[in-house]
Symmetry: none
Subunit: 226 residues, 2 copies
DNA sequence: GTCCGGCGTATGGATCGCGTAAAGACGGCC
DNA sequence: GGCCGTCTTTACGCGATCCATACGCCGGAC
């Protein structure tokens, strides 16, 4: 998880870098609004912690500029405690607003809160569950960072399920979409391919948590409950 | 845009209702944690404004219960200013945390911020009653956020009833739609499956409130009595 | 009070569907 | 032609589901 911290105070920058790094984040930094926008575009962070009191560009202008091309969560940190400042920042596109001084634990919790809601706001239409990441566009599956080799049929089944998260996909739908309209009755294919998919993707293939069977009807893909 | 406001202080409740209504929101209210959970399930609001200091259920427990089945944004309002309270609430699934007293303009801005990101959850039209949510499109039933496992026959019966809320469904209709046109006289099947459905979905299976028997005629599904 | 029809519940056996393994068939590639 | 990966087909064990039956309860009719 990458964090961009933008603040003009080198001490705060340093302190935040240490704290965030200690909590497992990759930290990049910016010292003014111009740098912040460049870094946001270049580093593609998962969340931006933005100080409004930076010289040069106005803080709200930075937010609006960044919001022009990305939905990356923005958490504003500011010395201003007045309501209008908060309202302006939030309405410009910030996701949260914390006033200085703040407890680091609270900042971390708020970072978790805003990133929790935008897991797929990263780049690419990926679906993640457990330690698995499915990139539908790239036709690629990774597990714990490692490439997972899927056969064409396995991919076709998985894709159909992943494209309908939480929804039940009937056996007939799967069969016709993968094997063609002639196949309408389960010849046992599905059981086999769901088996191999579970073996490759589930932590415990004998107790699947994401590729669920609905007996007599079909199958269901369930992403992480969080 | 619907807002659920949960607070045990009637004055705050009233004030928020007036303010939010004036800004174009449809407001529903709850006075304790239990009510809040029920209202969240029944009214399906677009955002929940939740006071943590309510009697009865712990605020964090309310958040976790609601998070069990929906991603509706939750904005916590609390008198507690300590860090641990904020961290607990945010990590439980809250999207924002505002301490009393707060400026109404700020609250409104924060509501806009959390709702801006919500993509109006893609789960289809649902029918809710009690702590049960039936998603006809996804063919899924949840109770208090937990998945309820229904057999194909159980689902077929439930679906037929839920699709005709408040209307009486005759035994013959149920039999022919579930078991085929040959079955026209009650062989005792319906009694059995209504029994299991009540066991799985009713708060008190011996005193059903939603799956009602009409003696000699059929059955009737009744959503929550207002 | 007694009878009776309709309903709810429990129980046991037959059946169905699923998961798994293994082996043969097919096609691409060297 | 031989090798390899993938797909198809078949078979078996096991658990869940469904079916069939029986019994107890309740309210209404008489």
């Amino acid at each position: 998880m990458r964090v961009l911290v933008a603040d003009d105070d080198p001490q705060i920058l340093k302190a935040l870098r240490i704290i965030l790094t200690a909590h497992g984040y990759d930290v990049s930094t910016a010292r003014d609004g111009r740098e912040a926008i460049d870094a946001a575009a270049h580093d593609r962070p998962d969340v931006i912690v933005l100080d409004l009191g930076m010289p040069g560009l106005d803080g709200v202008a930075v937010i609006e500029a960044v919001r022009g091309w990305t939905t990356t969560p923005i958490l504003v940190v500011s010395g201003r405690t007045d309501t209008s400042g908060k309202v302006d920042a939030l309405d410009a596109g910030a996701d949260d607003y914390v006033t200085k001084p703040f407890a680091t634990e609270e900042l971390l919790a708020r970072i978790r809160a805003v990133t929790r809601r935008a897991p797929e706001a990263a780049d690419g239409p990926t679906v993640a569950f457990g330690d698995v990441v499915v990139d539908l566009a790239a036709r690629q599956v990774k597990r714990a960072g490692q490439d997972v080799r899927l056969t064409p049929t396995e991919w076709a089944v998985l894709e159909q399920l992943v494209r309908n998260p939480r929804r039940l996909v009937t056996q007939q739908t799967l069969l016709t979409s993968v094997w063609g309209p002639t196949h309408t009755r389960d010849s046992g294919y599905l059981r086999i391919y769901l088996g191999t998919l579970r073996k490759k993707l589930e932590a415990d293939p004998s107790r699947p948590r994401h590729l669920i069977t609905e007996p007599g009807i079909g199958y269901r893909f369930v992403p992480d409950p969080e």
